[in-house]
Amino acid sequence: MTRYLASRLLQAITTIVGISLIVFALAHMSGDATALLIPPEATDTDRLALRQQLGLDKTIADQYLLFLKGAFTLDFGNSFRFGKPALEVYTDRFGATLALGLVAAVLASVIGILIGVYGAVKAGKLFDQATKLIALMGQAIPSFLIGIVMIAVFAVMFRWLPTSGNRSWESFIMPSIALAWFSLASLARLSRSSMNDVLSTDYIKLARLKGLPENKVIWKHAFRNAALPIVTMFSLQIVYFVSGSVIVENVFSWPGIGQLSIQAIQARDYPLVQAIVFISSTGIVLLNLVVDILYGFIDPRISR
């Protein structure tokens, strides 16, 4: 167990260092940052002063170490556009993204697993065919497209739901479906195949022969054994929720991190871009680390 913990921890640390390298490189790929901050008529001494203030006069290696030090204390400097610490701008918007992400995650897991499990139970029947269709649609319709289709139908044609904002519970419906869409479909697909494997085993046949109620057979005997790959897949899909929120929040003008990231990128607000990419990516790595460690305790086969 200790060995497993140590290797997972080391893996997470190297991944975070790798992420920091990519994030650090981001600001340097766009050329001279001082050109964005200073009017063209500024004198050379002003430019030099600004370069010194931003630490751009140091060597690349020194600049990286400085960035790394800042990143681990979550200090990314002041946002150019908002004039306050990038971390503060991030945390201001984080609540909206988290709320949408949680609703979408619950939606994707509950509906995706229900559809997949009953698809496997009713293998070959009409419901199963519908399950396969949903899985296919989920992969072929990108989240921004399903978002636009929903806006066209439910907001513009029937005027049932608002097109943007996060003021009421109704405004959660379309964005959370769009964000859950891809994940829901792949969870349905995986639950179906995972349940299929378990349902054909002897102990399920025995449970049925014993005359247990079908619900108990499905959920207590079969699903608990089919759950491991599903949970693994779900923890791996957290990364899609982050990418998806960038797109979905822009379709529905949701005032969260996803919308903020496009604004920051378009304004070349590098402290803010770096904060968003670093915190989001590191958050995913840490979350996956926690899930893996929990597995190690739950299922001793994994940590061996």
Binding site: P142, A152, I247, Q266, S280
Partner: protein, 300 residues
């Protein structure tokens, strides 16, 4: 699942496919997901001959002819699918967009697939330090949110088709490397590789003549599914305004522009939306079919 009737049918069709006779060939062609192949052939033809078959210049602005209706909503044959808010022909823009989707899709799959394959062969076969480095770097790229980092890079280096292709290659090679590496690790332990070594084959000969042909199947499956994913990502990035820069028509950008006219000129989002849906669905169906045919784990 493993009813005896099914097994015999499966073994029959595999046995038949090994011998090359005209009849077996026809059977195999008929088993192809015809609909998928048809869509993809059309897409490739449209992509290749786009400028020839396109009825108008996709970027010609004619404000007086803005928002013409498509032919089946009472429009004219001059603009069969209507015109957009700047009077540009929607059909010509769809054709031009098909070319971009195809170009970006194939370039990225080819680039990322080659890099991923080479690194997977090196890491899986040689092991040791090379394997450690490749695996760690792969983990970084798999852990980061793809779309967020891709738009941040495109935003930093500037939006253009070349930058987009290189960014997407940079971001997606790790997916190939990880899957193919585990395949090489498995193959390396098999008898035929050990025998090749005993027979005195050089490392490069084993890599190119013995290992590479054996990972072509998973590579083909991955590449097909990745082609669909890349087309979706290109459309997503262009939709966000951080993919292929305007005035070049792309399906994603057309959707983004047409979004403001939903309810008045819904056909502006209908056609690019349908194009993405049909093409990606066709590619995914082909990928699933390939996986069932080529992946030995699914053959039983």
């Amino acid at each position: 699942m493993n009813s005896p009737a099914k097994t015999t049918v499966a073994s029959k069709s595999i046995g038949a496919s090994n011998k090359f006779t005209p009849r077996a060939f026809i059977t195999r062609v008929c088993e192809l997901p015809l609909w998928s192949v048809l869509v993809l052939v059309c897409l490739v033809l449209v992509g290749l001959f786009g400028p020839v078959i396109s009825p108008h210049d996709p970027n010609a602005i004619q404000l007086l002819k803005a928002h013409a209706s498509p032919i089946f909503f009472g429009g004219s044959w001059e603009y069969p699918l209507g015109t957009d808010q700047m009077g540009r022909d929607v059909l010509s823009r769809l054709i031009s967009g098909a070319r971009i989707s195809l170009l970006v899709g194939f370039a990225v799959v080819l680039g990322a697939g080659s890099i991923g394959t080479v690194l997977a062969l090196a890491a899986g076969y040689f092991g040791g330090a090379i394997d450690a480095v490749v695996s760690r770097v792969c983990e970084v790229f798999i852990a980061v949110p793809f779309v967020l980092v891709a738009i941040a890079i495109v935003g930093a280096v500037g939006a253009s088709i070349t930058n987009l292709v290189f960014t997407l290659i940079f971001m997606s090679w790790a997916g190939y490397a990880r899957v193919l590496r585990s395949e090489v690790l498995r193959l390396r332990e098999l008898e035929f590789v050990k025998l090749a070594k005993v027979a005195g084959c050089s490392d490069s000969r084993i890599l190119i003549h013995h290992l590479l042909p054996n990972i072509v199947n998973p590579l083909m499956i991955l590449a097909t599914l990745q082609l669909g994913a890349t087309i979706v990502i290109e459309a997503s990035l262009s939709f966000l305004g951080l993919g292929v820069p305007p005035p070049q028509a792309t399906w994603g950008a057309m959707l983004s522009e047409g979004k403001d006219f939903i309810g008045f000129h819904t056909s502006l989002v209908l056609f690019p939306g349908l194009a993405i849906f049909v093409v990606v669905l066709a590619i995914n169906l082909l990928g699933d079919w390939l996986r069932l045919r080529l992946d030995p784990r699914f053959r039983q």
